[in-house]
Symmetry: D2
């Protein structure tokens, strides 16, 4: 079964999640890149834009208006929000499975989505069919999903960090806090002044304290894990990294529990979640370029506060890597196929 | 009165707080560098080690064993912890005023200090005489102090951020959280592997979650402001900045209050605390090289959580700049003398 | 005479050279900011865009179409190339002196200028009147100049490095090489993908090897110093710095000469050129934020090659600082007025 | 033959070349890590020091004094200079092949080596047997070598850039210049003040202009290619990158030649040398984490100067990757085995 290569389409191949998909799929044994689209760069070899792919990717950017994606087994949308929802219905109808790396299918409550994303949803009925692609939570549903909503980067790091606590019911769910820090690639490959090297370098700042689009996505997930409405405060920050998210999570314990054992047990069978030995602190560089999430759990001075440290590479476990992990699950490949990339340190 | 220049001694001039004192004092109109000591570099011109000071500082490093500090009006200790307490009694006895930039005199409870700093205190009786040099809190006492304990970098950013809330009694003091991020100069000019560019660059991590030496210093200050024992969680992080601290503070409101007005009123007469207009987020670079602390206060989604963002340059308001501010107060100069350095942006 | 403050206009205040002019002029004792223009940000307080200037600059951006610059004693153009030449004639006509930080008046040969800058020159006759504002070369002419062409950043570092060699006639002028490296602020505050943190961070590259606009500017200067046509190869590179230019210059010696003495003698009276002791290597950070150029001269293995290392802060000695230095000369102030800013290290 | 895994020993596994060998060998299909030694860390699991290797490397650091390397098929020395020469004779005697990543066997002239490295050579007779491990130059000799001297990082980038020009005899060999820039990992994982983040970050400088140890290594190689003594000037610089070398090479053309064709032809069969299309500039990040060397050749303004731009990852093609490439050649594996790692961009 696994001898036949999957025909893969990537819609929106000029952003960071697009090039990262190509990096990972370039050495995936069952992947064949059939089409990579770009509105602006149609006709240009992909490797001319991303010289790191020279020798690995022969594809040429296609015009999304004329490309035929019906030959694909699966299509990844690495596009801005609001694009996938325009095209997904037609693709599903002809049997092409879809993974959206943007936010179009992540939030089940349509009015919430429309409020935070500032547009009308083009296919609300498909949202209910979409599976939220966090394998550690939804592996079984992903297997048979036709449409996967790939989680956001912050939501991946935060939810994997809180999950054992909420599922076990050992913290006060009304006062959850996530202080999250992201590298600049999380802002995308868009020409914006505040993302310039001379602006974001040697600089640290919070942003979106009044409300960030990942807040409702995370709240939805945490509420589902807790089986009751959570109170959740989310403060994202920009830090001068290229890649990496570090989420520092705070909660108040309501039960006496062996936190180290709780986390190790929860993730004992998860290839891509690594619970560090007690007392350690994960570094973002320890997952650079890899699909790993590394987590440490602390209880400072033995008090009632639990502090969880969760790190991922925002472009891999926080985007393209998790998408490939989902693809592997959907098509019955070993979950780590093409994802055994050793992190780059230093 | 102000025509006569102060004779200034700096003990330990080869670290970052030492060179930063020299940078600021080089253009201070009432400062005359009398002695700069270094055990290892005695005899070397200071500007040979720090070429940025060429043309500004003519001093040569003196041997601390032989230097005569009795001619000084004031001595700054820019030394590791445990040095100032060996020499302060003698200096005070001959009328030399002292500002310690290390931690020897910061914590009033001697046993707490000895536990966190792992040594016996050499002069516990002087700790009670020392004034904690946070001008915004202790200006009047600093004026007449013979011995000033200059606050730590994290403690400065965190205490200035919490102060209006605690003094006004509007938050639950049992659940205060400070998620703080520091640049690498905070680790000092010590040759250590984890501070190498190739280790700390493009990397983000928490450290000391189980307990950091600034925890008891901050707790002491917050408890004093709150007039009752606080519950305080402190998680420091290293971020790839050269300079800068960003403290993100979380508390739960217990009273209805106009937060913006509370902060603006509290700091309306403070030259070095700048409360940003509502809704903004301070950046560390906006204070780079300057003695400014910039603060913003948020109440996300109008809930019961208050989020305070507080940034300083750890080497200036968090160390050498605050020390000069204290010196200005002690000697009756205008508080901003020599400190009107416009931040370097970009 | 120096009691009266100069009324200063800045055309184009939203770029890096604009904000840098404001940083330096904010504490200049004889400067009064009369107008700062911006096409896009008219009506916004300058300090809202650049929070580092809060408390120092009260000016509000003016609309360049309606602002009256006739009240100014001097106008700085911190604009893209091609703007100053549209407005300079009118300003000069009413007695306003002009310093252009862009390239409009730097190149005496109009056809060369038009070829490299891709536009027709609006006032070729004024080019001949303009003084090239490199004080170490043209101090006397600058004193009485009505119009100063402020040098480019690369040209400043490269010309100051080659000048003693060419004036003394000790190298083969047919084979001069400048391998120059610039930080990202040199690319300006423009939203462009290749200047993003995630593109330019942890990355190093050459650019413009086939021809960079600073090539004819430097060639013109070197030829003038050598009094014969030079052969000059110029390769600029981008390095992940915010500020700083490092020029590494190569030439072949044709005469036996004491290089150290040659350089020290040439610059003995120059406040802003610092010749390092023999054997040292200047670092860009040793001039960060300051108007200093630091130079070292080497003769590796005692062979016939001379290697000159020249560093500046591209925004200060390479732009705004040199402009203020020129202003000081033009108005009879001490040349270092407002420019005694100690470099920020670390 | 290739079914049997090689037993591999790594002497000195705590430096950057050591961890990089482990990263690459972790997924090499024919590699089995038999021993990793460290004087200081004996008994510690390797992955405790380098968490990026968690899940990939189970080895524990061995004491070099007691480890038995006789079981190994090959031993890599990732040690400081002067160690490999102490142990190589014994290993070769029992049939263990050796690759030294340090400099002990790189320079054929013993007195030159002893002068630059400041020690007596322990086994001068073996130097003549060693093969200089630049596969693009010495592939056939490497195949049967028992002892390979792995080239330095600068020498790899510089020699690959000059090779086509020198072999073809089209440049003046008396005036070759290499202006080279390296990231900080090239300085090794040693605790030294000048390599701290707060020292080397946002900073650029030249070093060793009077003479760098890679100078005689490169001169030896260039002279061999040119078949006559070259005149060579080498200026290395430190740039705030973690990984990456960019060499900018200058020479004067003596013949009319199609440079692009010359380079493309020379490297047409080389898997790890990529000649870019005419007019492009290689970026260090385009080879980050990979064994690729990317080269561009320019002739600015059609003059007589040729400028070659050559980039490598100093830890891969400049060290560990080239060592694995050499191992593959020595043992008859496909040369790219284990080395098809797509560069990490961004």
């Amino acid at each position: 079964m696994q001898n036949k290569k999957l025909k893969i389409g990537i819609v929106g191949g000029t952003g960071y999640t697009g090039v990262e998909l190509l990096r990972l799929l370039a050495t995936h044994p069952y992947a064949e890149i059939t089409a990579v689209t770009s509105r602006g760069e149609s006709g240009m070899p992909v490797a001319d834009m991303f010289p790191s792919l020279r020798g690995y990717i022969k594809a040429v950017f296609s015009d999304p208006a004329t490309v035929d994606l019906s030959l694909c087994d699966i299509v990844f949308f690495a596009t801005p929000n609001g694009i996938a929802m325009q095209q997904t219905r037609d693709l599903l109808a002809i049997g092409v499975r879809v993974i959206d790396l943007a936010a179009d299918f992540r939030i089940q409550d349509i009015s919430t989505w429309e409020k935070w994303y500032g547009m009308s949803h083009a296919c609300p009925d498909l949202v209910g069919e979409a599976v939220y692609g966090l394998p550690e939570l939804n592996r079984d549903k992903i297997r048979t999903a036709q449409l996967v909503a790939n989680p956001g980067c912050y939501p991946t790091a935060v939810q994997l960090g809180f999950m054992p606590l909420l599922e076990a019911g050992v913290v006060d769910v009304k006062h959850l806090i996530a202080d999250a820090k992201s590298g600049l690639s999380g802002a995308g490959r868009k020409a914006e002044v505040h993302s310039l090297f001379a602006e974001a370098g040697d600089n640290f700042k919070a942003y979106g304290v009044s409300g960030h689009r990942h807040l409702p996505e995370i709240s939805q997930g945490l509420t589902s894990m807790a089986k009751s409405q959570v109170g959740f405060t989310f403060v994202p920050h920009l830090t001068p990294l290229i890649r990496g998210i570090h989420a520092t999570l705070y909660a108040t314990l309501t039960k006496d529990v062996d936190l180290q054992d709780l986390f190790e047990t929860r993730y004992s069978n998860e290839r891509f979640v690594d619970v560090l030995p007690k007392g350690l602190h994960p570094e973002t560089r320890s997952v650079r370029g890899s699909n790993q999430c590394r987590i440490a759990v602390h209880c400072p001075q033995g008090g009632d506060k639990v502090v969880v440290l969760s790190v991922i590479d925002n472009l891999v476990k926080g985007a393209a890597g998790q998408a490939v992990q989902n693809m592997n699950i959907m098509f019955g490949f070993a979950e780590n196929t093409g994802l055994e990339v050793v992190p780059l340190l230093p």
